[in-house]
Amino acid sequence: MSYVPDIHWGVMVIVLPLAGAVCCFLWPRRAVPLGLVTALGIVACVAGLGWQVVEQGAQRYAVGGWGAPLGIDLYADGLSLLMLMVAAVAGLGISVYSCGYFHRPDAKRDKAKHFWPLWMFLWAALNALFLSADIFNLYVTLELLGLAAVALVALAGGADALTGAMRYLLVSLLGSLFYLLGVALLYHGFGSVDITLLAERVEPSPVVWAAMGLMVTGLLLKTALFPLHFWLPSAHASAPAPVSALLSALVVKASFYILLRLWLEIFPFANAALAQLLGLLGAAAVLWGGFQALFQARLKMLIAYSTVAQLGYLFLAFPLANVIGWTGALYMLLSHAVAKTAMFMAAGNILYFGGHDRIVDLDRVVQRLPLTITAFALAGVSIMGLPPSGGFIAKWLLLEAAIRAAQWWWGGILILGGLLSAAWVFKVVGYAFTQSEVPHETRTVPASMEWTALVMAVVAILLGLFAPWPLALLEIGSPFGRENAG
């Protein structure tokens, strides 16, 4: 019994942003309303798909009607749905934020007309990626995603952004090629690019090890796991604020999602040593990113390094390899996405307002942006993993998983990482409480920007209070089913 019309919501979720991108490109002057309408439509479609999945269980959709080996399948289970929702929530926020951000009285006004189509393409790529059940199709979406992201980074202009974008592009292409070579080997080894079929056919063999190595390396490069994170801070920090937000919140997560899918479905036999290695790298990322963040001079750089650290958490689930661990990692992904969006938005507001984001000079700025600094602080609460916030739930789950798996040292890393983030969050928030009243040239921040940041931060907090819903979603289609023994 479904209350939702039986539409192919999954297809809509992909086609709608594509159409939106085309429309925004065709009519640049109407880009903002077109983009907003599309964003709302996407959210509605994701909700529809969510309802469908909740009511009817995991959905499989054969594009072109051909079915798995020959054609391409779309597949929506709890995991992909969760990712779509993350994208929808963060995406909606970013869309609203961008309206204010790009609507500047100065000369850079035409940025908006480039931003919207690129952003819609990126969203389409994300949605397509999360729904795809075909590793070659995943390659195409990955490229779509990468190019859109690079173009968006470059949108900021200036030497930093362009160099960052260039480095990002090279890394992205390199990662894709690694992945593609892996796909080629898998296809030629097992005659299919469909994940489900591959999962049935794949057995450990030199080809599979080689393919796994290539694909994992490529995806790690794109996910910026330590020590392959070198490209991330400059790219994320130099981009325009909404772009930074969506890069940190969504784009890096996409490649992590693919990695997770492959790991769970195609390479479940991956040996423990590799998992331990990933965990170790994750731990190193947590510590390294945390320390680097602490010593950054610029706010956006700081937040970018914190992304490096937070990505590390996601990899702590690999050595644990139990359902709670995976759930925790995904909840971390979810809450980090929302919180980091809020945080980059806040940083964007500060930059917009004061014209700089040097941390030592923040005191004159943040005092006059109470909403923004509140958003930053609330998001920081989630990033630190303090209750009540999504980050706390995630940490709790990971901690529980670590103890259950009798590998408590990962829990120690979690805690250390939390302390490091607390250190830098409060380093920034502390500036809100100074007394300096130095006059400063400022530009009024549109209310929509401040409020969006705040709303996103509040959502990050609320994720800690309504955790059972997303967690229940995750169980649909039991993506971690085969790991239950852990």
Binding site: H8, V11, V15, L18, A19, A21, V22, F25, L26, R29, Y61, A62, V63, G64, G65, W66, P69, L70, G71, I72, D110, H114, P117, L118, F121, A124, A125, A128, F136, N137, V140, T141, E143, L144, L147, A148, V150, A151, A154, L155, L181, L185, Y187, H188, G189, G191, S192, S205, P206, V207, W209, A210, A211, L214, T217, L221, P227, L228, F230
Partner: protein, 236 residues
Amino acid sequence: MKKTRKPKSITENGKKPAQFRLLPAVLLSALAVGLGYAVLSLPSQASGLSEPVAANLESSGVSNPVTAVLLNFRGYDTLLELGVLLLALLGVWSLGAAPKRRESSPGLVLEMLSRLLVPLLILVAGYLLWIGVHAPGGAFQAGSVLATAGVLSLLTGWRLDTRFSGLPLRITLVAGLGVFVVVGIVLIPMGGRLLAYPPSFAGALILLIEAAATLSIGITLAALFLGGRPETGGHS
């Protein structure tokens, strides 16, 4: 994979110093050996998906298996790929206006040659598009040839009239993707699935899509060659 930080000193020829080259060389040799071993361990006989392709070729509407895969069986990939192309153009345009070239005379030979070649190239493109249904060829090949014609014209100093460089140009650029999406969507109420062509007029639909795609690919590639936004008549 060791492309972490670049050393401060870079040798004259734009390479990193020897000690930074040796290590990657060794590691990559090992990688090559490993990959080679993996490749060689593949079974020497494998048909892949050629059998199901052959079995379904009848209902795909075309007789060239590659085109069938490209536009029918895995048409969704191709749709996204047109998106990638358009996206690249968007990216290039977002970087700024096309760099101003020094206007120099292309020279007599080039000018003559281009006048001869451009119509020919367009004709070849049409042919490739048409033949793609049965034999090697198709939208991408045709689009590339079309793009050559465009590039050649651009090299000889031809510029699109600013009247057409606004919305008309953009419509042409998105035509391939647009037609593809529209066809795919329209088919949902009819066939029930995205991009599920009814076998009876699959061929015609594929040709329609390919034609639009060819145009778009050609123009897009040519526009990419320009390296930036063209001057438009209307707003900036």
